[in-house]
Symmetry: C2
Subunit: 124 residues, 2 copies
DNA sequence: CGGTATCCTCGGGGATACTG
DNA sequence: CAGTATCCCCGAGGATACCG
């Protein structure tokens, strides 16, 4: 099952997979998608859960996600107007690859951090 | 198994998964890893297979991959000195998440491209 | 509280030319 | 052929202030 990632796709030639890479390229993109995993959230809630992301950058990230159709913006005309963001079909589909990355992190992240530190100490 | 991506991890709080995101953040990083899937390659071969990547940027990408311990550089002291790059353990492990992204692309890429085009036409 | 508008900085990506 | 050194550009990320 984890045998052949290319499996007949043209990864390289007219590489469509780059689309996915570009989609997740933002610093906070993947984190936002993961944060929306268990249901719609208001921007403020997102900020609190993520932590360390500036107000402007978060909205910027959400704008891009919205533009790419990965996240939907929902406005409620209430007493204090409320806004929520939720995953779309494609956005929800990205949770699986993201989970795969999370699994990888558990196993190999320390090795990477060690390698980086080693490189820092020597040449760098 | 593909049920709960978060599955008890702290995706958000002290988000270690960001490590993986950052590793793949480069424009060509993921492509290079995928290209090395079926064995070591020389830089020239890599360039040919990928296409559209400049000489300097490719070496820059390889440097980063090397520094992060995802790719190993192998030098052969031969008549015309030869150089090859190959995946390390952690690097090879990333092929699975990358494959997951490729699968996602097959299903949802068109929808994303459509959404982007739609956004372009209207507001921009 | 959500969103936008400035302004600044930094690093990646690209083209080019040059050294082993 | 592999690698490095410049130089330029642009966009993302961040801080701040201001408008619905």
């Amino acid at each position: 099952m984890s045998g052949d990632p290319t499996h007949g796709h043209d990864f390289i030639a007219d590489c469509r997979t780059r689309i996915a890479f570009d989609l997740l390229s933002g610093t906070w993109t993947g984190v936002v998608l993961a944060a929306l995993h268990d249901g719609p959230l208001r921007p403020g809630e997102l900020r609190d859960r993520i932590g360390g992301v500036s107000h402007k950058v978060l909205t910027g990230t959400l704008r891009r996600l919205e533009r790419d159709g990965l996240v939907a913006r929902r406005r409620y005309a209430e007493a204090p107007p409320r806004v929520e963001y939720e995953l779309t079909g494609p956005g929800r589909g990205l949770l699986e690859p993201i989970a795969a990355l999370a699994r990888w992190t558990e196993v190999h992240a320390d090795a990477v951090l060690a390698a980086q530190e080693r490189a820092e100490l020597s040449g760098r």
